[in-house]
Structures are given as structure tokens and as C-alpha cells.
């Protein structure tokens, strides 16, 4: 069964003013448990608006959202429980930090869940470990940390609630390549260890190609397609027409193919490309 599902989801900002803007239009998605789903789309295509519906921060103008088969806006559903089930990490999440120690800040979410001291402490240490924060960092003030470290604290703050669905809005935006790599690997590790489902907005086709199992492509507030990376990146021309691209390596392979070299076209990671090119060279 799908863990995250929407039905004809539509949302309009500033309804009834001259600034009306429909950011999400008639979106129907169904994301299965355990998926690591990348969300791509041009700036302003409605990605951020869509994900804020999934934990009930934004109420749809029309349509519905189902988490684990439960309509989250049904009477009797406590929206806070949904927020603990669906953890959301905003873009540039470091601005949400407010406590005087890293430990306390990560503990904010689990404490709001009403967990026992011991359990809160276990979760804080656990999630700090996942995002690669050293134990001695936990006692420091988060405001003394570097930008990348702050980002980790903020992500750990949501992971500590151990949500079944973890959603991240451009979690690696503005970080250096090494930092990006690490955080993406840590997100993947969270999903594997907790058997969670992860949704991840990204502008880097390379990251999406390497880390995800499915890709949701948004265009103008609607869903363009939802499929596996090879299928999505197989539609290079269509992606290009909406201002998106395919991973660089896919472009290289496409050029090689059009130059008459016989290699498969569904290549979108460098590792796989190396393997296929070696095979081709061996055949020759």
C-alpha cells in the first residue's frame, strides 16, 4: 500500500486577493513504503508547496492527502501525530535552531512527542550519530558551529522524531561537494536503518540519479511524471524543454551513441557508464 498519497490536490496562495497564485494543481501521487523518492522541477513548479501538504502544515484548497491510508484532514485525526509520522526538513533548516545547546535543540521534537527522558536522550544521540555529529558537539552552542554543522543539527532535529516518512527540501543546497555527499549518504542510511520512506527535493540531477529509487518530476504545479531514474532520464528532450536536464554522464553517453557507438542508452551514473564503456571496449 502507498504510504503517501494525494488525490486531486490543489492549492492556491492568497485566495481571493489580487495576488492569487495556484501553486499546486490537481496532483495525484502514490508513493510506496521504503521508496527513496527524488522530487525535481523548475523553481516555482510547486515542489515546496506540495511537500508542506504532506505533514498538514498547509491545508489543501481542494483535494485530499492520505498518510498510511488515513485522510489527514478527517475529523478526529490529530494533526500533530501526522507531523511526528511525517518529518519535514525545510530548505536552509539552520534558521530554525533556537536552543543554547545542540543536544537541547535536537531534543525539541522528541520532547514535543512526550517521550521519556531516556528515550529522548537515546534518540538525540542516535540521530546525532547518523548525521555525523561528534558526541562532544552535543554540549556546544549551535550558534558557534559552521554552516554545514548547523545544517546537520537541524536535520538531526527532525530525524530524532524517527518519522516513518522523512521529507527534505533541498537538504544540500549551498554546501560544499564533500558535505553534500556525506549528508546524502546519511539520509540514505536513515532510510535503511529505520525502514523509512524518504522524499527529497533536489536541483542536482547527479544526486537524484545516484541516490533515489524513484523520481517525481513537477512542472507548473502539476506532476509531469513519476517513474524510476532510467525511465525519467530517458526523456531527456522533454526534460530539457521544461528547463531541467539529465545527469552530465547521460548527456555524454547520448553523444557517444549518436556518434555511432553501441552502448545502452539508460545510463545515468558514472559507475555504470564506466562498466558499460569497458564492456564495449572489450567487445571491440
Amino acid at each position: 500500500m502507498s504510504i503517501v498519497q494525494t488525490e486531486n490536490l490543489t492549492y492556491t496562495y492568497s485566495l481571493g486577493t489580487p495576488f492569487e497564485k495556484t501553486a499546486v494543481k490537481d496532483v495525484n501521487i502514490a508513493i510506496d513504503e521504503g521508496e527513496l523518492c527524488g522530487i525535481i522541477g523548475h523553481t516555482g513548479s510547486g515542489k515546496s508547496t506540495l511537500i508542506q501538504h504532506l505533514n498538514g502544515l498547509v491545508k489543501p484548497t481542494s483535494g485530499s492527502v492520505f498518510i498510511d491510508g488515513q485522510n489527514i484532514w478527517d475529523k478526529g485525526v490529530k494533526i500533530r501525530d501526522i507531523r511526528f509520522k511525517v518529518g519535514l526538513v525545510f530548505q536552509y533548516p539552520e534558521y530554525q535552531i533556537f536552543e543554547d545547546t545542540v543536544f537541547k535543540d535536537i531534543a525539541f521534537g522528541p520532547k514535543n512527542m512526550g517521550l521519556s527522558e531516556d528515550e529522548v536522550s537515546r534518540r538525540v544521540k542516535d540521530s546525532a550519530e547518523i548525521v555525523g555529529l561528534r558526541p562532544e558537539t552535543l554540549g556546544k552552542s549551535p550558534f558557534e558551529l559552521s554552516g554545514g554543522q548547523k545544517r546537520r543539527v537541524a536535520i538531526a532535529g527532525v530525524m530524532a522524531m524517527e518519522p516513518k516518512v522523512l521529507i527534505l527540501d533541498e537538504p544540500v543546497a549551498g554546501l560544499d561537494p564533500k558535505g553534500r555527499e556525506k549528508i546524502l549518504a546519511q539520509i540514505k542510511r536513515y532510510r535503511d536503518e529505520k525502514n523509512a520512506t524518504v522524499l527529497l527535493i533536489s536541483h542536482s540531477m547527479e544526486d537524484v540519479a545516484r541516490f533515489t529509487t524513484k523520481i517525481l518530476v513537477m512542472e507548473n504545479g502539476g506532476v509531469f511524471c513519476y517513474d524510476t531514474p532510467p525511465k525519467v532520464f530517458g526523456r531527456a528532450a522533454e526534460l530539457a524543454s521544461m528547463g531541467l536536464s539529465v545527469p552530465q554522464i547521460t548527456r555524454v553517453i547520448n553523444r557517444l551513441k549518436s556518434a555511432g557507438i553501441d552502448i545502452p542508452g539508460d545510463i545515468y551514473t558514472v559507475e555504470y557508464a564506466v562498466k558499460k564503456i569497458n564492456e564495449y571496449l572489450a567487445r571491440k
Partner: protein
């Protein structure tokens, strides 16, 4: 949502009012306030209210927006009305035990409600139809005689325009921080006063942190561009008064005369 607060917001448009010189709009708003406060009777308020209706019609601002601008002041209106209606002396209409309602009390209350509502709705029109920049330029221009007295007019208007410029940014930021904390299970809707006050901490601290860092960045950026105050600065948009501005001013004065006359005659 916080975004729905409309007081002080600018709604771009191309009506006569939008195109008027902001200096004249400020003076006309002052005349309008004078109309409301020089009136001593309900009938005396009519010219002012009529004038406001005329302006709204000219501005093409939807009527809905006017009602919206009044929403935040409803509690104040209710509170003062209750006080007035029960505590003013005069011809008694109704008496239940302690409580009595007087004819004068009712009249006074109705007048006060009309006056406050017209004051807010009418002066909102100034910001609805003028961009923040044109307003601060106008304030600077109107206050410029004070420069002779060494009053820092330019600095004041620069501070005003920075403040106005950052209101939407701060509102957006507050919204974002609130959402982020709600996503971590912050509970801001329930609980007693103390609980709610405590729930503000996770919002206020990040807000202050970012406001301060924004202020530092802005100061740095201004210095990098050699900003050094008003001396010798020219403007991108120079204010020009046109025929329509003088006509508007004359109409506003006529309405003020009407208010005074109505009060004298009645």
C-alpha cells in the same frame, strides 16, 4: 496566516489615486482625519465617510479589502463600545439592576465606531495605493523644511523605508520559522497564557538572530556602495505634482468645509 494582514500593504494598480503624487495623498489623508475629528454629530461624519467612499471607488480597490483592513480592530471597537454604552450618563432608556443604557451612550458609541472604522479604512487607502518608496520620499519632501533646524530628515526617511521594506520579509520569515517549528511538533494553538508565551521562544529567538544578521549584511552592503547620507543624493523617481493632485486637494478641502458647515448648522 500572517500573510493575510493587509494594513500597510501596497496593492499595485493604475487608478487615479495610484497615479497621484504621494505628498498630496498624505496631506489629503490628514484633511480626511481632520474631517472625522472635527465632526461632533453623526451627520457631521457623513461628508468624511462620503469622501472615503468616493476615494475607494476611484482607487478600484475591492470593497472586500476594506472590510479586511477593519478585521484586526474589531476587538478594540467591541471593548470600547461596551464601556461607553454602559457608563455614559444621559437619558436612560433601559435599566436592569446596576446596568443602564442611555440614549446618549448609544449615540456616542455609534459615532465612535463609525469614526474609528472610517479612520482605519480611510487611512489604509493611503498605503494601498502608494508604494512604500513613494511614501517615504513624500515624507522626506514634506519634512524637508525641518532640515533648516538640523533635524535629520533624510536619515529618518531612510530608516522608515528600510523598516517598510523589511516588514514583508520579516512576516515571511516568521511564517517560515513557525512552519519549521510546527513540523517539529511545536504546539502554538492550545494551552494557557503561560504555555503560549513559552511556545513563542522557539520562534522569537531564530527571528531575532536572522533580523540581526540581516541588519549587519544590509549595513555592510550600504557601506560597500559608499552610502553616506542624503548629501548630494539624487532620486530614481522624482515626485511631480500634476493638475489632478490639486483637484484632489481642493475636493478634500471642500469636504472638510462641508463637515464644519454641517456641524455649525445642526
Amino acid at each position: 496566516m500572517l500573510k493575510d494582514i493587509t494594513i500597510g500593504q501596497f496593492f499595485p494598480g493604475n487608478s487615479v489615486l495610484h497615479r497621484m503624487d504621494a505628498r498630496f495623498k498624505i496631506i489629503i489623508t490628514a484633511l480626511f482625519i481632520a474631517m472625522l475629528f472635527s465632526a461632533n454629530t453623526i451627520i457631521g461624519l457623513l461628508p468624511g465617510i462620503l469622501f472615503m467612499a468616493l476615494c475607494y471607488a476611484l482607487s478600484k480597490i475591492p470593497f472586500r479589502l476594506m472590510l479586511k483592513s477593519l478585521k484586526p480592530i474589531i476587538p478594540i471597537i467591541l471593548f470600547t463600545s461596551l464601556l461607553n454604552i454602559f457608563f455614559l450618563d444621559g437619558v436612560v432608556l433601559l435599566r436592569v439592576g446596576f446596568v443602564r443604557i442611555t440614549y446618549d451612550g448609544i449615540l456616542f458609541t455609534v459615532m465612535m465606531i463609525l469614526r474609528i472604522a472610517a479612520l482605519i479604512a480611510g487611512s489604509s487607502l493611503l498605503t494601498y495605493t502608494s508604494s512604500p518608496i513613494s511614501l517615504t520620499d513624500a515624507v522626506e519632501s514634506l519634512l524637508s523644511p525641518l532640515k533648516k533646524l538640523r533635524f535629520p530628515v533624510h536619515e529618518l526617511s531612510m530608516m522608515m523605508s528600510i523598516a517598510l521594506r523589511f516588514i514583508p520579509t520579516l512576516i515571511e520569515e516568521t511564517d517560515k520559522i513557525m512552519s519549521a517549528q510546527k513540523a517539529r511538533g511545536a504546539d502554538m494553538e492550545s494551552g494557557g497564557l503561560l504555555h503560549r508565551a513559552k511556545a513563542l521562544v522557539p520562534i522569537l529567538i531564530p527571528l531575532f538572530v536572522s533580523a540581526f544578521s540581516r541588519a549587519m549584511e544590509l549595513a555592510l552592503a550600504m557601506e560597500c556602495r559608499c552610502y553616506q547620507g542624503g548629501e548630494g543624493r539624487t532620486r530614481l523617481k522624482v515626485l511631480h505634482s500634476k493638475g489632478a493632485d490639486y483637484i484632489g486637494l481642493t475636493i478634500a478641502m471642500l469636504f472638510l468645509d462641508a463637515t464644519v458647515l454641517v456641524d455649525l448648522l445642526l
